[in-house]
Each structure stands twice: as structure tokens, then as C-alpha cells.
């Protein structure tokens, strides 16, 4: 089972890739990478308690019960990335600017700040 530090490393790596496609990537992929960055940040929080999600359902349940402050952000990243991954081409209509503003600078940044704050407390 991965440790908090290992989840943070994966999140950082995903974030690095996300930043590299922010200017000219496909909006769908921005949301997908943002969500999988988020996944590792939430798993980092769970790892402090030796927990590990077995499914998206399990992770959503953990966020709902233990990290309500970021539930909207987590849920929206999950939901939009689900549509981005599986809906037919043309169904995901958000622009690159919309995705950058709402999902990356908005929801993902909100989660990053929250996880950083909680991690600081947990690490003490």
C-alpha cells in the first residue's frame, strides 16, 4: 500500500503533465489529468490512516464522510472526467479556458490547498 509521500509524488507528476498541456491540450484531457491528480491527493489523506480506496465509489464515500469541505470540488472533477472519458466526441463541450478556470485553477487548486493544510497537521 502506497504511503502519503508516494501519493504526493504521483500527484506532483500528474500535475507537472497537466501544466504542460494547459495552453494547447484537449479540454477533455485536462479534466482527466486534473482528476487523477486529485485521486492521489485524496489517497494521500487516506494513507495517513492506512486506508486505500478500492473504487471511485469507495473514495467518494470517504470524501463525503471525512473531507466534506472538498466534496464539491472532488465530485465535480470526478463527474466531468467521467463525461470526458466516456461520452461520445462532441458531448464534452467545455473550452480549454473554461476547464483551466473552473477545474484546474478552481477545484484542483482548492483540493491541493486543503490537502497541503491537512497533511501538515497529520505529519506533526
Amino acid at each position: 500500500m502506497a504511503k502519503p509521500k508516494q501519493h504526493q509524488e504521483k500527484a506532483d507528476r500528474n500535475r507537472q503533465f497537466l501544466d504542460s498541456i494547459r495552453k494547447d491540450g484537449q479540454p477533455e484531457w485536462l479534466v482527466i489529468v486534473a482528476f487523477y491528480t486529485d485521486v492521489h491527493l485524496v489517497e494521500k489523506l487516506r494513507a495517513y490512516n492506512n486506508q486505500h480506496s478500492i473504487s471511485h465509489e469507495d473514495r467518494n464515500n470517504a470524501v463525503r464522510n471525512n473531507h466534506r469541505k472538498i466534496h464539491t470540488a472532488y465530485h465535480e472533477l470526478f463527474n466531468a472526467s467521467l463525461v470526458a472519458r466516456y461520452a461520445t466526441v462532441g458531448k464534452f463541450k467545455m473550452t480549454l479556458e473554461d476547464v483551466n478556470n473552473l477545474f484546474v485553477d478552481g477545484y484542483l487548486t482548492e483540493i491541493e490547498k486543503y490537502v497541503s493544510k491537512v497533511s501538515a497537521k497529520m505529519s506533526k
Binding site: N65, H71, H75, V83, Y86, F92, K93, D98
Partner: protein
């Protein structure tokens, strides 16, 4: 010999004045599909209680929530429970509605506070119900808001 034709499409309910009405055959189909979920409750009385609360509380709450957003929601399906967490699919009127995000999250949190573990997913509008099958099986669902449209245009 008893023969049964496989049902196609979601179960339709009638919601009137806070009460849910389901036809007996549809109720039977629901109970068969929901068996796995209620089995975790271990006793028959707990399962009965769960089913009663499902139709008396959960389904009407989803119906009301959708009705209040009728101008933004095209249809809404509750999947037959296959596990302890219920699944709800909300189909928006048009494109993915980012404005619904917080409202859906709030509804999940409200249900959690009432003892319902529930995952709610928003989908953009699909002209053809067949396209929804990418995400879930409408044949194993209850349509609680809006109408379905098949490829042939039948409702």
C-alpha cells in the same frame, strides 16, 4: 408454464402528492434486482424497512429535487441497488451544467446525513437513450423524472 418477457427500458413511477406509485410487476422486478443490496441488511424485517424507506423517503426526495430544477434537468434515473451505495444519474437539459455541481454535491451530503450512501452523476443531454448505456443500464433503473426517448422517437 410461466413465461416472462424481459422488460426493456426503465421502470416508470407515478409520483403524486409525496407518494410513489409503482405497478406490482415493476415492484417485483425492483425487489429481485435489489435483493443483493438488501441482503447485506441480513434480516427480512431490515430489508422490508429499507425498501419502505427507499420508496417513502429516498425516491420522493430525488423527485422533489429534480422537480425544483425542472428547467435544467431532462431526466433522472435511480439504478436498482447492486450494493450498499445507491446510484442516481441526472441528465441535464443541454450541455454538462457546471452550475449543478454544488447542488448535486449538497444533495449527496444531505443523503449521507440521512443515512443514505448515494453517488449522483450528471450527464449531458443525450437525444437517444441508447447512448446512456455507455454509463448505465436503463433497463435496471427507475425513471423518476422526465421521459425516455428511443432511437425511433417513441416515448
Amino acid at each position: 408454464m410461466n413465461t416472462q418477457t424481459k422488460r426493456s427500458g426503465p421502470i416508470y413511477i407515478h409520483y403524486d402528492d409525496g407518494q410513489i406509485f409503482v405497478t406490482p410487476p415493476d415492484y417485483d422486478n425492483f425487489m429481485i434486482a435489489a435483493r443483493r443490496a438488501v441482503e447485506v441488511l441480513q434480516s427480512a424485517s431490515a430489508a422490508e424497512d429499507w425498501t419502505r424507506r427507499f420508496f417513502d423517503q429516498f425516491v420522493p426526495a430525488v423527485c422533489d429535487w429534480c422537480f425544483e430544477r425542472d428547467d435544467r434537468i431532462s431526466s433522472c434515473y435511480i439504478l436498482f441497488p447492486a450494493g450498499p451505495s445507491l446510484k442516481v444519474y441526472v441528465v441535464s437539459i443541454g450541455d454538462y451544467d457546471t452550475g449543478l455541481g454544488k447542488e448535486i454535491s449538497d444533495l449527496e451530503l444531505r443523503f449521507a446525513g440521512e443515512g443514505w450512501s448515494c453517488d449522483i452523476v450528471q450527464l449531458p443531454y443525450h437525444e437517444d437513450e441508447e447512448e446512456l448505456r455507455t454509463f448505465f443500464d436503463p433497463d435496471n433503473s427507475i425513471l423518476v423524472h422526465g421521459q425516455t426517448k428511443t432511437a425511433s422517437g417513441k416515448s
